[in-house]
């Protein structure tokens, strides 16, 4: 095998390229005006709540500097919560609190944080310290997700999340992204996280890929991916499909986390999901998109029906 695959072989494998994704999926099905809904986490959350799509609970929003004093009242007696910028990117500016000790708050690292520091952090978020372009931002406080321990062993330092690509309302491909030591706790595949392709039929792992190479076990925790089965699989697919109704985006990536108590929750939506999910599944997207294009125009279907069809057609 040389350095490059021949285009005809890639086409035979049904690999979706960036240009085709941009022209035929994003430009055609994702209207520009819908982007703010997914780029702004608060709007996503409010729309989700309205549509009845499960998301982490919203505790409160701070829009203006003068509201910062009210932050403690918003938090009230809660011991676990997250403060994050509404338009932040790359995970910057997210403050996670896992417990309380008297007047102090405790970070996951065990470090104690005073109420003053929490207010200052919120103030920094508002002034745009963490948002791209330095725009003034809003801070939102949401409930901390209690990760399902079934998956914790497949991730190092970070949180595994399930990415489902939804095309015209049908789930077409899914993977779970596991942070590694070399990805620095981040779940981006090109930074060294492990992508595990998931069988749409049952949520079982198909294969695992790190940096483009097939692997069998997690490089840090040593757990074999063969046994990996994502629980609540049907609910996850239902949730992802619901995001299509909610946003109107024809090609979207739904990032879903599993909460111990609440089950699957949508963490984030992406209007331009990347192509690495194909590598994690070792399968091209193109053929699946074609299948959807064929069956899509026939009749309007409910979420339930769409998930069923996808599970039948794309499962193993």
């Amino acid at each position: 095998m040389g350095w490059f695959a021949s285009p005809s072989k890639l086409r035979a494998a049904g690999v979706l390229g960036m240009n085709r994704r941009n022209v035929q999926c994003i430009l055609r099905y994702n209207k520009r005006s819908l982007y703010p809904l997914v780029d702004n986490k608060l709007k996503t959350k409010l729309a989700a709540q309205q549509a009845g799509v499960a998301v982490p609970e919203l505790i409160g929003v701070i829009e203006h500097q003068f509201q910062i004093k009210t932050i403690l009242a918003l938090i009230d007696e809660r011991t676990q919560f997250v403060i994050k910028p509404v338009q932040g990117s790359g995970g910057k500016g997210i403050l996670v609190i896992v417990g309380r000790d008297g007047d102090y708050f405790i970070k996951p690292s065990g470090q104690r944080v005073s109420a003053d520091e929490i207010q200052r952090h919120a103030s920094n978020i508002l002034s745009g310290l963490f948002s791209l372009g330095g725009r003034t931002d809003q801070a939102m406080i949401e409930a901390l997700i209690n990760f399902d321990e079934a998956l914790a062993q497949y991730s190092y330092e970070g949180v595994p999340d399930v990415r489902v690509v939804v095309y015209r309302g049908y789930p077409v491909m899914a993977m779970i992204r596991c942070a590694t030591h070399s990805s620095d706790g981040k779940a981006n595949l090109h930074q060294g996280a492990v992508g595990v392709g998931l069988n749409l039929a049952n949520g079982q792992a198909i294969c695992a890929v790190q940096n483009g190479n097939l692997i069998t076990q997690h490089p840090d925790t040593g757990h074999a991916f063969d046994d990996l089965v994502v629980p609540h699989w049907h609910a996850i697919l239902m949730l992802a499909c619901g995001a299509h109704e909610m946003t109107g985006l024809g090609y979207l990536g739904a990032d879903i986390v599993l909460d111990k108590l609440h089950g699957p929750l949508i963490l984030e939506l992406n209007a331009r999901p990347g192509l690495s999910i194909q590598v994690a599944n070792q399968t091209g997207l193109l053929n699946r998109l074609k299948v959807i294009d064929e069956i899509c125009n026939a009749e309007a279907r409910t979420i339930e029906e769409r998930v069923d069809i996808a599970q039948q057609r794309f499962g193993y």
């Binding site: 490059f4 285009p7 890639l10 494998a13 390229g17 310290l129 620095d184 930074q191 190479n213 590598v279």
Partner: protein, 515 residues
């Protein structure tokens, strides 16, 4: 599909308009499609040396004149510490340097550099002389000899021209008559002075032509003189040393007539020396300069009708579509990651100013140091606008530092860092450092490297002489470029980088199928 057909129609239309416009210009108006033949452009440097006497200094240098055989494309003067003006007196141009500095007694050197095309065809006639030539001043002792020589030569020649030639050959002959030898010794062996007296006896108008013999790589050359007489309505040149008639092929005329080439007041031992090199430049460039100065009817409605400075701006601006094409091609077809879509073009434009070999290391150096400083600034928790502003100031400081350091070290080229637009550098640094924080160093190297590769390729194409020639002379070809970009814009096939990225998938699938 409808949109696609529309796109092809628009693209075809644009391409047809652009290409037919270019063809019309080529066929009907005679614009050459290729850079074509080149002309020799001489870079001539004149060096004026003198010792100041302590009095106020005034140096006057006659500049090449309009009736000469040179087209001046560009000229520069060095005038450090001097007041400097260019005067025009009676149709002649003079450069005048002046200074009042009694203490400085070191030798002074002044420079005048010009780029000139030598072309004997453009020679024009100075106005005909008026009145009869002035009677020459002669020494009483030489009058008899002059008369004898004059009578002798007059008998032998019919026309003024043949008389002049005869005078010169007689004065330069190895075997001289007694009278001729006497005349020369009385006039300090100055052939021209004796010739002048003899010509005045005959009533011929004449003047001295000063100029330079062009020869590539010549240094410390002195100016040469020709003798020019007015006869039968035209000026005829003679070489005073050989009597040869006509203008020598490589003689660049500086001054026709006039009193002196160089006047130095307040200085002694003054002289002017010339050094010269020749460069090959496309004929078009030269022709354009000529057309501009004379007539521009054919090209009245084109970029050529703009002032030369604006033309220069357009020359650069019209290269941008080529850079855009490179960016589109490398991003869509090849899939090179770049930071910012058009940053590479701006970097390429900067490289055009600095030259690639000086520009590339300077760019990497400034951005590298800037990144490091930006890293420190990020610790101070500044807002974005303040942070970018701070980086701009730091970049300015860096540029000043590198310029001064390189100047002191004697590396001229490094000073060209100032050609980089400060804002571009600052933004590049800001962008790179954001990338660094969000995605890590790998992405910075990937995108930064990608941008530089695109910039270098764009630079290569934008400095290509054919590309330069075509964009400047056929701006309508930009429409064809636009069509090409539109066509690439709907390409939905694989990128070259994807053939690499997904190469394992094909292999795996083959394996699976094989099992």
């Amino acid at each position: 599909m409808k949109a696609r057909i529309q796109l092809y129609v628009v693209a075809t239309l644009l391409a047809v308009i652009g290409i037919s416009g270019a063809l019309y210009k080529n066929i009907s108006l005679g614009f050459p499609l290729w850079p074509g033949e080149s002309r020799n452009v001489w870079t001539l440097q004149s060096k004026i040396n003198f010792m100041p006497t302590g009095d106020p200094i005034e140096v006057t240098l006659a500049l090449p004149e309009q009736h000469g055989n040179g087209i001046i494309i560009d000229e520069n003067f060095s005038s450090s510490g001097f007041g400097f003006v260019i005067n025009e007196e009676q149709g002649r141009r003079y450069a005048r340097w002046s200074r009042r500095d009694p203490n400085n007694k070191a030798e002074i050197t002044l420079h005048y550099k010009m780029q000139v095309v030598h072309d004997n065809k453009i020679l024009s006639e100075p106005p005909a002389p008026e009145g009869s030539p002035a009677k020459p001043r002669t020494y009483p002792s030489e009058r008899e000899s002059l008369r004898a020589v004059y009578d002798h030569l007059s008998e032998m020649s019919g026309t003024d021209a043949s008389f002049t030639q005869l005078v010169l050959s007689t004065l330069n002959a190895r075997e001289k008559s007694q009278d001729v030898s006497f005349l020369l010794s009385l006039n300090n062996d100055d052939t021209l002075a004796v010739t002048a007296k003899l010509l005045a006896y005959r009533g011929i108008h004449f003047q001295i032509v000063k100029g330079v013999y062009l020869q590539d790589g010549r240094r410390r050359a002195n100016y040469a003189q020709l003798l020019e007489i007015y006869s039968l309505g035209q000026w005829i040149q003679f070489n005073p040393e050989t009597g040869e008639r006509g203008l020598p092929d490589n003689f660049l005329i500086w001054q026709r007539g006039g009193i002196s080439m160089l006047d130095v007041i307040g200085g002694a031992n003054s002289n002017v020396e010339f050094s010269m090199v020749v460069n090959t430049v496309p004929a078009r460039t030269v022709a354009m300069m000529q057309d501009l100065s004379s007539q521009a009817t054919l090209i009245d409605m084109s970029i050529y009708s703009l002032p030369v400075e604006q033309q220069g701006v357009f020359k650069t601006l019209l290269l941008i579509p080529i850079g855009a094409l490179v960016v589109v091609f490398l991003r869509v077809i090849v899939g090179l990651p770049t930071s910012g879509t058009f940053m590479p073009i701006l970097i390429a434009l900067a490289f055009i100013e600095t030259g690639l070999f000086a520009g590339l290391p300077m760019f990497v150096l400034v951005v590298g140091v800037g990144l490091w400083i930006r890293y420190y600034l990020s610790h101070l928790n500044l807002l974005l606008v303040a942070r970018v502003s701070a980086v701009i100031i730091v970049v300015l400081g860096l540029m000043a530092f590198f310029s001064i350091a390189s100047y002191k070290l004697g590396i001229d080229s490094a000073m060209s860092v100032t050609f980089f637009p400060t804002i571009i550098l600052a933004w590049t640094i800001e962008r790179m450092s954001t990338l660094w924080e969000e995605e890590g160093a790998r992405d910075v190297i990937k995108q930064g490297g990608g941008s530089l590769v695109v910039a270098v390729i764009a630079y290569g194409l934008m400095t290509n002489s054919i590309a330069k020639h075509l964009t400047f002379n056929f701006p309508e070809l930009t429409l064809a470029l636009l069509a090409l970009i539109l066509i690439i814009g709907q390409y939905s096939g694989y990128r070259l980088s994807e053939l690499y990225r997904f190469r394992h998938m094909v292999a795996v699938q083959h394996k699976q199928r094989g099992q």
